[in-house]
């Protein structure tokens, strides 16, 4: 039996599955991130016990645990210092859990895990080269090349939200200016729309509010340019778009597709496919399960 975990800043989603990836149980508990790494790691261990109990499977029958955690992740093991997990500074979550649980552990960046989930079970099934983009409070990404998560030299690849698209653009949380995230993530849409958040902006746009409509179209243009850049650079088989902001559906995705085509080169425009994510909130946990199945050796 295998365990997939999606470690988030507010929730831990833990699922027990059989070796073919069929989910037997799934539990969702609070991360309690503010209480620090020790407490969070205790909660992770607890969630595994709960998932096993719910499935009526003894812990001894679990052999592998895949984890998606806020990135960057070094060496499939170390959580560097994610803003939504305060107090985490180069925590080697792999070796801690290995010591405590005596199981095979593999830790992947959460966006990479979600990308691998969509690739293995979702909208990207059957493709070889895939770019997954998550539109949320931030903009993240995961790259699948030749059926494998591509993490780069030290594991930081896929940070597509920090692609600079307008050097004179707004200040980004990362310290630079004009990153895609600063131009088109949820908070940027809310600000341009003069609304509390992206969901309010969406509702206002659907009611016909011009400012909110323009804000979403502007964000869509930037996201489209970002996708076109990725298409010109990587020419993947498919782009899969997930994350809370993507729940706007065609209101956002239609103009995104328009601009992504517009800004792609002739040759790569023809092969451009952009689809919404299928697994939604379960992409990360399904990706962690897929990592157990396909990445962690027996």
């Amino acid at each position: 039996m295998i365990i997939g975990i999606d470690l988030g800043g507010t929730k831990i989603l833990t699922s027990l599955a059989d070796p073919e990836g069929r989910i037997i149980s799934i539990v969702r508990i609070d991360t309690q991130a503010k209480l620090g790494p020790e407490k969070v790691i205790g909660n992770i261990i607890n969630s595994i016990s709960l998932a096993a109990k719910q499935a009526k499977i003894p812990l001894s029958r679990i052999s592998k645990i895949g984890i998606g955690a806020p990135g960057p992740i070094l060496g499939q093991a170390i959580v560097v210092s994610p803003p939504n997990l305060p107090g985490w500074q180069n925590v080697n979550i792999k070796s801690i859990l290995q010591r405590e649980l005596k199981k095979k552990i593999y830790v992947e960046n959460d966006a990479n895990a979600a990308a691998f989930g969509e690739f293995s079970f979702g909208a990207g099934k059957g493709f070889k080269n895939l770019v997954y983009i998550t539109l949320s409070t931030g903009i993240g990404g995961g790259i699948i090349i030749d059926g494998k998560v591509y993490t780069g030299s030290i594991g930081t690849a896929g940070e597509i939200g920090h692609m600079v698209i307008d050097p004179d653009g707004p200040k980004c949380g990362c310290g630079n200016r004009g990153c895609l995230e600063s131009l088109a993530a949820g908070p940027a849409i809310a600000k341009m729309a003069g609304q509390k958040n992206a969901l309010e902006a969406e509702l206002a746009a659907r009611r016909g509010n011009k400012k909110a409509k323009n804000a979403i179209e502007k964000a869509a243009k930037y996201i489209g340019i970002g996708i076109a850049n990725l298409n010109n650079i990587l020419n993947p088989d498919i782009f899969v778009i997930g994350g809370g902001v993507s729940n706007m559906g065609r209101l956002l995705l239609d103009p995104v597709k328009h601009w992504a085509k517009q800004y792609s080169m002739d040759a790569s425009r023809k092969s451009l496919i952009i689809v919404p994510a299928k697994l939604k909130n379960n992409a990360g946990v399904m990706g962690a399960i897929a990592i157990c199945m396909r990445v962690i050796p027996e």
Copy 2:
């Protein structure tokens, strides 16, 4: 024995090498691109005979021919319609040469071939993930992932010159606005400097001409942003910078490095390595030889 060919808009560079990649002869003839594909293909065949003759090797001892040609290239075979080869419309150069020469043929995009050359014999030797950038009349690139040329879904990956960095920037030859190429290739530098070409701009800058200096610094900033974007997306082991404009040396590359660091995220900044190309004008032909050695099966 193997043959590597770098097919350019003005010159065909053809080299005969032994199976270990040691060059035995090298010939350089005019492409005569204006006379159309048939004439150019005749010249390619001619250049092979000349290289063989110079090396005193009978044609029968040649088993493989690798070719770098202006991209995009579809299916390692078809030259689509490069601007510097007028009259070429989806020419299947592989099947034509296979029919004429009865050898194993493999055609790769010229920037990809140069990337593979630097990876196999040049500044990128010993690394696994590499991005090669050629700064010239245009800006092109080649991506090596896990020791292999990455060409994407239909073979158009690596078009990094058409990454949009400033959507309100100058018009690009591709039809869009603010592509890296339109902001920082040779003609853009010349225009900003008020000089005839990039070389004149360099000379003026070295003489202390303020406008020319500013032009080179501005181009360097855009190139640096482009590299930072690629670093955040791909986090490669190394960036190798080639092409005629890169011959400016540190005058260009020092500010490029500065801005590439500045615009990279914290985590990927640390691993950023940018080096000048080593093989210069021979990168393409050496890459074509490396393709014979490592890609074309026996």
